[in-house]
Amino acid sequence: MARSNYEYPGYEASGATYWTKTTLLYAVVSLGALWMTLPFWWTLTTALSQNPTASSVTFIPAELTLGNFVTLWERPDILLVRWFLNTVLFATAVTLFNLAFDSLAGYSLAKVDFWGRDTLFLGFISTMMIPGMVTLIPVYLLLVELNWINTYQGLIAPLAANPFGIFLLRQHFKSLPSALGDAAKIDGCNEFQTFYKVYLPLAKPALATLGIFTFMGAWNNFEWPLIIANSNEMYTLPVALFAVRNQYFAEWGLMMAAALLIVAPVIIAFLAAQNYFIQGMSLSGMKG
């Protein structure tokens, strides 16, 4: 049950105690928030400084220049556009596959009464317990066998299904009335049409949440592309940043400029659609 903030206990106190408490509250929350956001400011000011030193960028940068971004653009081994497009392709494909596969499975597990359904669902859920690093080596060897290392299909395929998505969408389809499906079938829809035309449009909010969550996860995924993409042309942005770090270590201005290029789109998207991201995050808390 939601409850309004005005009813929250602890504010009966009045006078001096109230003001001390309130001031302390704001001081603590603001200090914490400063610690959370200052690194972003430092990244920005360093990226905009030609020769960053500790004192020149801490709060207000001494001089501002776009020189680091120009250098990034001009270095022949830094393929900004290519890396960006790789990341977009990778994250989009992973998201679309997840949405397609997980909504089909989620619907089936919620609305179709088939043999072995509950056992299968339990099986899907328990795979969430398998830590990612156990499958890293065997999946890599499988992709070697398929000649899929350093290819887009190698990057995308192993991430195309996700038990959390199945769980989330199953719960959502379960909450929709079965009468809708019965009505559609009386009107002559088959199972797929019932799913596609009746239930899927009603699942849009859940699909949007899962989609954003999956896209963000793939966009930020560092470990998997690190293992699969091993040529400059195939890097996604996080791996590319790691490569830039190894190549131009201690050129801090340049590195922060590169970091900023990865961070900025995510932060802008987050600030624009805050509620979706936060909702996706709190929903992922349900998987426990």
Binding site: Y26, A105, F114, F242, Q274
Partner: protein
């Protein structure tokens, strides 16, 4: 609801059920068809799970008993050799040398690093997240802005935050710029004694936001009546937290704690991007060691065996937590 009404409802429902059943029969929708369609819908996922999850787990177990040749992509059976090589010398031999010196046994040393990391980050991530959630759950002006500020680090790729923090904590970095005037400047990321602390600081920074969100969601589900009852009984703020908030956050805390510990045992990307396991193995966590053995040195068998050892550890821990949780379960 009167007796009459409820009877009509049931009648209507059973009538509808009969109609639906007869329609289903007329349309030829029967169990066979449900079975067929149901399995067809889950088929893509079943295939993906067999090929990329269940199959690989079994395959990993198989590889861990092999000396794997990555050029031919095939292995030779070596029995328990990989496991013995990883585990020996045991940590308690030679006055716990393996825990103090990375050259004695890197596996135990990496496990020690991982444990230090887990113990240092998990409580702060959780209590930090809980504290901020409790504060923001009150009447705070600009709540949305604060929430966004705390959540922003969660949005970053591990690679990006590691590279950023590597610069902040460098010898000539920003943080030393702040510490220099008070004489505390130090090469934080370059000193084996403090490098892991740097990784932990970054992980706490990036981990508070998500826990805050989980706890905020949990707090929203606590019925207001409980607080009202506590207020009438004259409970202080602390008593309200201790006897109302905390017991009712049980499920959320359990989930948050277990997930935080499991993911802290799998930390790897940030340690790699921060300092590549160095200086002098001080940030070599267990999964980073697995990565280095398997993908930098090509010892797939050793890597798989290490992964399995860690898997057993994580599984035992989760199971223990689950059992403990069941014995503690509180009902309201």
């Amino acid at each position: 609801m009167s007796f009459e009404e409820s009877r009509t409802d049931t009648d209507a429902e059973s009538a509808l059920f009969e109609v639906a059943t007869s329609v289903k029969q007329q349309l030829g929708i029967n169990r066979d068809q449900d079975n067929l369609m149901g399995w067809m819908f889950v088929l893509p996922n079943v295939v993906m799970f067999l090929v990329f999850l269940l199959g690989p787990v079994l395959f990993a177990f198989f590889i861990s008993f092999q000396d794997w040749n990555i050029l031919k992509n095939e292995g030779t059976w070596v029995g328990l050799t990989n496991y013995i090589e990883i585990l020996q010398p045991w940590p308690w031999e030679n006055n716990f040398a393996a825990l103090k010196d990375p050259t004695v046994n890197l596996w135990w040393y990496s496990l020690k690093n991982t444990a230090v990391y887990a113990i240092g980050t998990v409580p702060l991530q959780i209590f930090g997240g809980l504290a901020i959630a409790l504060l923001l759950d009150k009447r705070v002006r600009g709540k949305k802005i604060y929430r966004a500020a705390y959540f922003m680090p969660v949005m970053l790729s591990g690679a990006a935050s590691a590279v950023m923090w590597r610069w902040f904590l460098a010898a000539d970095g920003v943080i030393n710029g702040l510490l220099e005037p008070i004489g505390l400047a130090h090469n934080w990321a370059g000193d084996p004694a403090t490098a892991l602390g740097g990784v932990m600081l970054m992980a706490i920074w990036g981990g508070i936001g998500s826990n805050m969100i989980f706890f905020l969601a949990g707090l929203q589900n606590i019925p207001e009546e409980l607080y009202e009852a506590a207020r009438i009984d004259g409970a202080s703020d602390w008593e309200k937290f201790r006897h109302v908030t905390w017991p009712n956050l049980g499920n959320t805390s359990f989930f948050v704690i277990v997930m935080a510990i499991i993911s802290s045992f799998q930390v790897f990307g940030i340690a790699l991007a921060f300092s590549a396991g160095g200086p002098y193995y001080s940030t070599t966590t267990s999964v980073l060691l697995i990565y280095q053995r398997a993908f930098e040195e090509g010892q797939m068998g050793v890597g798989a065996a290490m992964a399995f050892l860690l898997f057993i550890l994580i599984f035992a821990f989760s199971y223990y937590q689950y059992r403990y949780r069941q014995s503690e379960e509180v009902d309201y």
